[in-house]
């Protein structure tokens, strides 16, 4: 049965492509988008209405912040607004007139930064760059004036900042989000191609009851037949997963800080669950084109439900609940725990139980459908077979 399936696969190059070259290619394209890692030097504009040595110094200090780069100097606010509207930059820094004079006189002048939150990531990143640079600039200005009045640098630093905060970005000290997104994207791509490939392959057999019967006979019973049908694709999917992971942890340098057996087991359960999902869809719908539409329509939006870009805890009840129908949801969370986060094994066990439960439920549904099809086939198939036998005599 297994051998028949392998030969059958080789005759369908598109199916082989779909489960091997295509996921790797999609992953490489996606990975190249994030290849640079942290977005730095995002363009912003500045409107310096003061144009004094003090304001120019502040502008220089902000330009030196790693997240942003001042690319444009605008003449007035309208000019600056146009630039944001046409997308030349995502933020505008406004230093008001008489800034230095007011600062010296103790009138606490205001620096304003306008940023585009419609382009959320780019806008927030520029805002982060400015807001992390400005307070330290204010402190520097303050400390400079105190040092001028005879304090040492250390004394000045303590005097202006009696409470210091150390910030630690847990699991991601470099604040590089490409790790998390890539770790999830591999899973989403594999989920899509594995589900589609299995669905396609099963649907081609399920189109006619005759083919299903042949499969069962060849396999000698439902369970061996199913295993023979699904395993070749499982092996291909495992290889693809291994290739993508080698690229991720080897070439892209993702951290691998977890328990190996747990990761491998979880990956296997995930891939088998994807196959069962595809197979169930195929048996429900029977004919390949609509079955593939159903799978694509259901699985494609899964990325949003995973809670990678937006945490699952903050979603509405429907989304938290619906997220469970994707094999990827729990797998991604276990994978992130066991690679980037380096979580203890017992924290991940609950997630693994979710995965196993999912696997068991889809497996059971698949089995029940197969049994029902066999019963129906037996009921309707008895007569034609009898006639055929009669004719042969």
């Amino acid at each position: 049965m297994f051998r028949r399936e392998v030969r059958w696969l080789i005759r369908r190059p598109f199916l082989v492509l779909l489960s091997s070259i295509i996921p790797v290619t999609i992953f490489l394209v996606l990975a190249s988008i994030y290849a640079r890692g942290i977005a730095t030097e995002l363009p912003i504009a500045v409107l310096d209405q003061d144009d004094s040595p003090g304001s120019r110094r502040i502008v220089r200090l902000i330009d030196a912040a790693p997240d942003i780069r001042i690319t444009t100097r605008v003449a007035d606010l309208e000019d600056g607004r146009r630039g944001i509207l046409s997308g030349s930059y995502q933020g505008l820094l406004l230093v008001p007139e008489n800034f230095t004079r007011d600062a010296i006189a103790g009138r606490r002048p205001e620096i304003t930064f306008f940023y585009n939150t419609q382009m959320m990531v780019a806008g927030n990143l520029s805002a982060r760059g400015v807001s992390s640079a400005l307070p330290s600039i204010a402190l520097q200005v303050q400390a400079a004036s105190r040092m001028a009045s005879g304090m040492t640098a250390d004394q000045a630093a303590i005097a202006v900042q009696p409470v210091a905060m150390q910030t630690h970005g847990l699991f991601n000290p470099a604040l590089d989000y490409s790790h998390f997104i890539l770790a999830a994207l591999v899973v989403v791509v594999l989920q899509l191609t594995t589900t589609l490939a299995t669905c396609y392959s099963v649907a081609l057999d399920a189109e006619t009851p005759h083919n299903l019967r042949i499969l069962r006979r060849l396999g000698g019973g439902i369970v061996p037949a199913v295993l023979g049908k699904l395993l070749p694709l499982t092996i291909v999917a495992c290889l693809v997963h291994a290739v993508c992971d080698t690229l991720m942890f080897g070439y892209f340098g993702l951290p691998l800080d977890g328990t190996g057996w747990l990761l491998v087991l979880s990956a296997l359960v995930f891939l088998l669950s994807c196959q069962l999902l595809g197979a169930v869809a195929a048996l429900f719908v029977r004919s390949p084109p609509p079955a593939l539409s159903v799978v694509a329509l259901t699985v494609s939006p899964s990325f949003g439900y995973l809670g990678v870009s937006f945490p699952r805890e903050a979603m509405n009840a429907f989304s938290i609940w619906w997220g469970n129908i994707f094999p990827a949801t729990h797998y991604v969370s276990l994978r992130v725990d066991q690679t980037v986060r380096g979580a203890p094994v017992d924290v991940s066990m609950a997630t693994l139980h979710h995965q196993l439960f999912y696997f068991a439920v889809t497996g059971l549904i698949f089995y029940l459908i197969l049994v029902r099809i066999r019963r129906k086939a037996a009921a309707s198939g008895a007569q034609p077979q009898g006639q055929a036998a009669a004719r042969e005599e």
């Binding site: 190249s32 009696p162 699991f171 937006f310």
Partner: protein, 393 residues
């Protein structure tokens, strides 16, 4: 001219009579409209859960805890005795970070030395980490400023002057266009234009590959292409209007743009996407393959659109190549007009790209149609063209 009209009529007829195509063009968007934005509909992320490990337990440390708690971005959900239990809570995703206040914090701070606190934030999520860090940072800044002002007043300065010295300038961060900072307002308008493109690619691709939908009008390739594209403007503009007016309305996404300017994007956008669909059909030639390719393209196109990741941070080659896809310029122009209130003159660049793509893909599709027509004729003559298989990609 009459041939052109009959091609248009024939094509419109197919769109309405083929149930599958009709479903793709007119029904799928409603299903996706209900299903896709759910994870993002919580919109604004507030009150991120945080813990405090307070080893000092003094008036100042409790004040700091309260300050963090009252900020609208953070909520102190637990006080924990040590760092180990806080780490555990982060692993279990019960909190997104914790603030460690060491022993003798108040004593250090009041004795004129620099007191230190440490903030550990789960940096797996960009949004959560930045919100939490700014909430904790602001609370600490406030505490520090109060201490400095207190000292200066004690030293004989008047309160206003003391504040001006302690905090010489004010910083005002103003978000533009998406004032709530909502995640849905950011994702939904962009994603649905991508979905429009996917549906057009799939619908047009299938219409021109399904064996049941062979052209019933004999027209030269250029006329046929033009006629088809005119006919596809109906589903194209319809889908665009649903995506830019009805869906944002349903999800409370602000829309401030002018409808006529928006329509000026709808036309080149739907032409470019439909022309690309015709080209797909001409190259792939098989309905099932068209369907699979479209399903697989969704994910990479989404990430190339520059929604999830600023395009400025992508590799150079990709920054250029992504403009070959209609959605890149389409999303850019439409979001600027609809959500940011830009004028057509602000988006002249992306609109020009859309027209160029429409013309380019239409000519390529007409060329491919002519080549395959020539081949078909030769097949009929009984002389199979030697390269008829070789030029398949």
């Amino acid at each position: 001219m009459t041939t052109l009209l009959s091609v248009v009529r024939d094509e419109m007829d197919k769109v309405v009579t083929n149930r599958r195509i009709f479903a793709i063009f007119f029904v799928a968007i409603a299903v996706l409209g209900l299903y896709y934005p759910q994870p993002y509909s919580a919109e604004v992320l507030r009150e991120v859960a945080v813990a405090v490990v307070d080893r000092d337990d003094t008036t100042s440390s409790r004040q700091l805890t309260r300050d963090v708690d009252v900020s609208q971005n953070a909520h102190v959900v637990m006080k924990l005795p040590d760092v180990a239990s806080a780490e555990r809570a982060v692993f279990e995703r019960r909190i997104s970070g914790y603030l460690f206040i060491p022993q003798h914090f108040e004593r250090e701070m009041l004795s004129g030395r620099q007191a230190e606190v440490a903030f550990y934030g789960d940096a797996s999520y960009f949004l959560i980490f930045s919100k939490l860090r700014s909430a904790v940072g602001a609370a600490i800044q406030r505490l520090g400023t109060n201490v400095v002002v207190g000292r200066l007043i004690a030293g004989g300065m008047n309160p206003d002057e003391a504040l001006a010295v302690a905090s010489p300038m004010r910083i005002n961060m103003i978000p533009l266009f998406n004032p709530e900072g909502g995640y849905a307002s950011y994702v939904v308008p962009a994603v649905f234009l991508l979905i429009v493109q996917q549906l057009l690619l799939m619908g047009v691709g299938l219409l021109n590959t399904l064996p049941s939908e062979r052209p019933r009008v004999d027209a030269p390739p250029i006329v046929a292409t033009a006629g088809k594209l005119i006919a596809y403007m109906i589903p194209g503009v319809f889908l665009y209007l649903v995506a830019t007016i009805i869906i944002p309305y349903a999800y409370n996404v602000p829309r401030i743009g002018d409808v006529w300017s928006s329509l000026a994007i709808a036309i080149p956008f739907s032409l470019a996407a439909s022309a690309l669909g015709l080209l797909f059909a001409a190259i792939l030639r098989d309905a099932l393959v068209v369907q699979l390719v479209c399903s697989l393209l969704g994910l990479p196109l989404f990430f190339m659109a520059g929604i999830a990741w600023p395009s400025e941070a992508m590799p150079e080659l990709l920054q250029w190549a992504r403009h070959l896809i209609p959605s890149t310029s389409g999303i850019d122009a439409a979001v600027r007009i609809n959500q940011m209130g830009a004028d057509l003159s602000d988006v002249a660049g992306p609109v020009r790209v859309l027209w160029i793509l429409a013309a380019g893909y239409a000519s390529l599709a007409a060329l491919a149609m002519r080549l395959s027509a020539g081949r078909a004729a030769k097949h009929i003559d009984g002389i199979p063209h030697p390269t008829s298989k070789g030029d398949l990609p």
